[in-house]
Symmetry: D2
Subunit: 212 residues, 4 copies
């Protein structure tokens, strides 16, 4: 039987396809990203990962099972490192890392946070959507990344065995908690997941086009 986490992905296959074909994603993979898109991404994604730490804390406040709690503790450490990497990228490229969040970025982090506050299963579903979308999208385009690409390290990071293992473990925790959810809960979690992946796509669109 298909795992609950995989069924969530299946139900959003069109968005998955759209993410892997998005000009921002392809530009980062090819190493041809325009300066303005790079700058938007580095700044807004840095805001995103800093806010994601609150999402992780909100999930841990639910008193999750031990295995999930350990995964979340590890994620928190990873987010600190990722925020630092964004700051170093900004510095290397010669622009300030600090910026105001744009509405889609603020909306996406608010969406994740409100669900993490709402409930353990709701918040875990939204977080899994974000992490799984990253893994699958960068995996889909990783082969396009030329040797020596300035963004090669990022793509390597999000397609590494470590990250793949983390996403698999997170999905395993979600599946174990969700079990065979009632129709009402399945509908609720399905809506949460779909909203998150639409934000993921909107986020890349925002980086590509600028704020509007």
């Amino acid at each position: 039987m298909t795992a609950f986490s995989d069924r969530l992905v299946e139900a959003n296959r069109a968005t998955w396809t759209a993410m892997a074909a998005h000009p921002f994603v392809l530009g980062l993979a090819d190493g041809t990203l325009p300066e303005q898109a790079l700058r938007a991404w580095v700044r807004q994604d840095r805001i995103f990962v800093l806010q994601e730490r609150r999402v992780v804390a909100a999930l841990r406040a639910h008193g999750p099972p031990d295995g999930l709690d350990r995964l979340l503790a590890g994620l928190d450490g990873g987010l600190v490192a990722e925020a630092d990497a964004f700051a170093r990228t900004a510095e290397a490229a010669g622009f300030p890392a600090d910026a105001e969040p744009w509405p889609v970025c603020l909306g996406y982090t608010s969406y994740l946070l409100s669900h993490a506050l709402d409930g353990l299963l709701e918040g875990l579903t939204a977080l899994y959507a974000a992490e799984r979308a990253y893994l699958d999208t960068w995996t889909a385009v990783a082969a396009r990344s030329p040797a020596g690409s300035p963004y090669g390290d990022w793509i390597q990071n999000w397609t590494s065995e470590a990250f793949r293992g983390f996403v698999a473990d997170l999905g395993g925790e979600l599946d174990a908690l969700a079990g065979s959810p009632s129709p009402a809960v399945a509908e609720r979690l399905g809506r949460v997941f779909t909203g998150a992946v639409r934000f993921e796509l909107a986020f890349w669109e925002m980086c590509w086009r600028g704020q509007a």
Copy 2:
């Protein structure tokens, strides 16, 4: 198959028995409650129902299914009426209704509120425990209540068809949401339910013995 809500009660049968045999409960049913126990109960239970309104609001903030949302809206109205009835009882008996919450009262309402904030299913499970315990306990002792008992109206209220219907509907909503919960969620909700009914029993003990 036994409904999830009924299995929760089954797993706490000993507490159910202890509640229906508790001297406070018997004293209220018989109409022989000492003045001090009456006073403690009226004041602390009034605090309880006022705090329970926050529990209801926290549950509604999760965006529950429509049927459950309507039940909760109705409960909120009932709690306002119940707080008024406690105030009138205090006035008729000649003592002020206002009081400081005692630790067990404050602990019980904090327990319900923290679970209502924690998640829809967690909070609904805790609330159901409180309501079902009231229905079953007063139903078990209602026949002892003599005609003209000063507390007859209270017992009638908590054994009425309307209240029985409300508790059945609340259990139905819980069962529909919970479905066949995963072992992890069943364990989690079972713990929430057991904690709530232990508080229910501790609450009556508190009314009977005084604060200590």
Copy 3:
């Protein structure tokens, strides 16, 4: 001394000006709104007010002072009526009221909800931003609305004495709670307010341009 609530507005004067000059706002006032913009607005704003009910519940779960609790109860009733009015407008115009939320709509409601869950003062500040922006913006353009405009009732609603009184009372409750906030809290609430009014502007932009 300028009230805290008024200082929040002062600090966002540029957004206030931009709202009152936005083509969507002018189009609704003039009665010249393109069909597509009307449709987007009716559907997305209906989603907004339905979600705002969760915001109200989350605020009430904090156990606000009595006067504020009553204001929020009244707002909840108003939101039900407003959602119905949107549904009737959709029906009269011949399109289904139900729709999927667009990212900016979902982001805005998530933003309000996450702050309402975060704290009483944080959530009240965000809610006040939304209500005050509506009052001030429609007041600024109300004189443009010709007699017999199909949208005249909406503008009348958001510029009525009743709505003005509600917003003033809400601001009064915010000022009473906030007092003279510490620099850290003033900065925190200022950020919450600014984020909300930027979403308000982004919402109208979304209705005017379509989802993208």
Copy 4:
């Protein structure tokens, strides 16, 4: 001017006095604690510190100022160490560390958690009450602890310079956030603080007398 955090303590001076004179506290200081009281304390306090980790996570989910966030991260690590120390004490004394929480323990942790979920200032006030009560109470009785007391390490821990510095820093963060709170907020936080210290006293009473 007296700091806000100190005024909270002043308003609860009677409870402070009662804590430092409580037979459980004196018994631990003197090293004369009955076996049953020791066992109750080790088990229930271990549950307490494990649940307090959720309180810390809930506070961090509010996105506190950086200095406070670092203090909370440090506290989390300390709680893990403290839970381990309780487990080792249980092992050395030959009884299992695992136990069911008693109502007052469950009520106290629910109280802290519900306020930590309720808001940053509310939760910080409740947490500060618990930490400050520990520091002041053990400081008051530390001189009674004889050399070689089996509980000497515990008392040394809660009267150490490190712990004193932590509590001072936590109070400083509370004072910086609270500023000169409005009457409504001062009343709200005062109530939160008083409830927490009453639970602290009730907790020791529970350890001393057993569950009832």
